[in-house]
């Protein structure tokens, strides 16, 4: 697997808080749109089709 599924975020609590705060004052619609943008921005940053496919697999409902 090329996707890094080991812990890789140096300050996990800070990141998680930022993610929640980002959405705090947004309507449901705005949240959905912002999340979609976030996925696209990060996917582009990764830019590796194998990694992205693996991530999509991992994200699927159990």
């Amino acid at each position: 697997m090329k996707l890094n599924v080991k812990a890789n975020i140096p300050r996990p609590d800070d990141f998680y808080q930022q993610l929640i705060v980002m959405q705090k004052d947004l309507s449901d619609d705005e949240v959905q749109l912002a999340n979609a943008k976030l996925i696209l921005i990060l996917a582009n940053h990764i830019g590796d089709m194998d990694v992205l496919s693996e991530a999509m697999q991992v994200a699927m409902p159990k």
Binding site: Q32, L33, N35, A36, K37, I39, L40, I41, N44
Partner: protein, 545 residues
């Protein structure tokens, strides 16, 4: 309505065979005189093959319908001697703009590569295109028998021919043919007559298309709006055509009432909302359409061959309908001619299905992807669509994700059984199965274009040294040698650049201007083997190697 164009009326003429009541067996009958049927007939004529075309109507396409014609079909029509009036009358364009809500999301340029004879894309109303094709057919009336108001009502396949019941104003009569080419459109009757399966995906959406006449100073560009203020939540496309006719497509959604929406009193306010109240225009033609992405399960049913929309139907985004249909007949007719002449076995026609079904699947994929972007199927895919468009305004990375239609380009037959695989490495795009790139050259002392000097047969294109022979044969099929630096001069070096011919290179080119094989030196035996393979003159086990 309809005032910039005068529809020609083609005369019905009773055929000799109907008059006499004695069935005549024709080698080739084409059903449908649309762009694809007429092109099939012209390709037959170019190869010296007599052909009868049957059409149940007596004029050209009503309304503009197909609008964009791409470089490859133009090259094919140029081979058939009819591209010039199309390019002269058509509108060439390169720039596309995509708007999201009230903002420009991004622009794209087709960026046509220089040094090709044909432009990247022209816009032309389908009725003009068909009129030019009919005129071309009239010049070949010794070979093309174009019969209007002839409707095929049933057919029966026999071992070595097809019999047809054909209805005309004089009643019903029987015709026979060795091969039938069905170019009778998406609702093909012929397809139903052979019980052809035509499956795929239907889209629950409706579009209003309007041809509008106006003197507008808009630039000649393709403008596409997602969710514009003048047509909330839907998409709109504006395209310029010849004669100050502009084509506007409004997405209406599935709930729209097609009868109500077509009424001028409902169409005109939509256009006014878009253009502003002060813009003067006239409505020429209006239609409502919905579409499907589907194809026939086999392009060949015995002695019946399907081409164009009769074989595959795509969404209009990307101009992949007529453009791919023309490439169907380009692929088919040389094969059919070899089979008719007894120079190749009938299974060569199975490779028509192999290659064109492959291309159709590529087109269907592209077309379905565009449709999914333009009309998202779920709430969450709508969020992704809108997110992409918003990001595209400010960030480069999102622009390639915007899909308002990927414009038609030829599908290389990379997996075709007719190809001989490469033995050595070549640079560039001219891989076996690819269509030949054009280039400016000098041929027999005259400045011209590479594709114009290929003729109608197989060509052995040689960069470097060749033995002093003018042709090679495999069975009854001949390939002519064309040596760069002898009859053909590559003055600008562009041909060598596009074919990686800076060092020695030998190409075997098919009659439809696709690469069959290539090598780094002239080896007559290898060329003959590749020629045999490209015409199915080898045992089938060999072909599978």
């Amino acid at each position: 309505m309809l005032n910039t164009y005068q529809y020609p009326e083609f005369p019905y003429i009773q055929s000799q065979e109907q008059k006499s009541g004695k069935p005549v067996r024709h080698p080739v009958v084409v059903v449908g005189a649309g762009p694809i049927g007429l092109t099939a007939a012209l390709d037959c004529a170019a190869r010296g093959q007599p052909v009868v075309v049957l059409d149940d109507g007596h004029t050209v396409s009503i309304g503009s319908r197909g609008v964009c014609y791409a470089k490859r079909p133009l090259e094919i029509w140029d081979r058939l001697g009819c591209a010039e009036p199309m390019v002269d009358k058509g509108i060439s364009w390169n720039l596309g703009k995509v708007y999201f809500k009230d903002k420009l999301a991004y622009k794209f340029n087709l960026l046509p590569e220089d040094d090709h004879k044909m432009p990247a894309m022209i816009n032309l109303q389908q009725y003009y295109l068909e009129e030019f094709l009919v005129e071309c057919c009239a010049k070949k009336s010794d070979l093309i028998d174009l019969r209007w108001q002839h409707k095929v009502i049933s057919l029966k396949q026999h071992d070595d021919y097809v019999s047809l019941s054909v209805e005309t104003p004089d009643g019903i009569f029987t015709m026979e043919c060795e091969w039938l080419i069905a170019c009778d459109g998406a609702n093909s009757d012929v397809r139903n007559m052979v019980n052809g399966e035509f499956t795929g995906q239907f889209f629950q959406d409706r579009f209003l298309i309007a041809d509008v006449v106006m003197k507008a100073d808009f630039p000649t560009e393709r403008w596409f709006w997602f969710d514009p203020p003048f047509h909330k939540n839907q998409s709109v496309l504006l395209h310029r055509q010849a004669d100050d006719v502009w084509r506007i497509d409004f997405q209406l959604g599935w709930d729209a009432d097609p009868v109500e929406e077509k009424k001028p009193e409902n169409v005109i306010p939509r256009i006014k909302a878009m253009l502003g109240d002060d813009k003067e225009f006239e409505l020429e033609w209006v239609s409502i359409y919905q579409f499907a992405c589907r194809r026939i399960d086999n392009f060949r049913y015995g002695r019946v061959l399907f081409a164009g929309d009769a074989a595959h139907q795509v969404s209009p985004f990307g101009a992949r309908g007529a453009n791919t249909g023309v490439q169907d007949t380009d692929n088919l007719i040389w094969k059919l001619k070899l089979v008719l002449d007894g120079k190749a076995p009938a299974r060569l026609l199975d490779t028509y299905d192999e290659e064109r079904a492959y291309a159709a699947d590529d087109n269907l994929l592209q077309s379905t992807r565009s449709t999914d972007f333009i009309t998202p199927k779920s709430k969450s895919s709508r969020y992704f669509r809108d997110a992409t468009l918003e990001l595209a305004e400010d960030y480069d990375f999102a622009r390639p994700l915007v899909n308002s239609g990927r414009l038609s380009s030829p599908t290389p037959y990379v997996e075709s059984s007719l190809n001989t695989p490469d033995e050595t490495h070549f640079e560039g795009a001219m891989t076996p199965g690819a269509n030949c790139a054009d280039a400016p050259i000098v041929y027999r002392g005259e400045e011209t274009w590479f594709l114009n000097c290929l003729g109608e047969g197989f060509i052995i294109l040689v960069f470097g040294s060749a033995p002093n022979i003018s042709s090679l044969r495999a069975g009854g099929v001949e390939a002519s040698v064309l040596t760069v630096g002898e009859t053909l001069w590559d003055m600008k070096g562009i041909l060598a650049e596009r074919y990686d011919g800076g060092q020695e290179a030998v190409y075997l080119l098919r009659p439809d201007q696709h690469v069959a094989a290539r090598w780094r030196s002239f080896d007559g035996e290898k060329i003959k083997a590749a020629l045999a393979r490209a015409t199915c003159q080898t045992s089938s086990s060999k072909v599978q190697e």
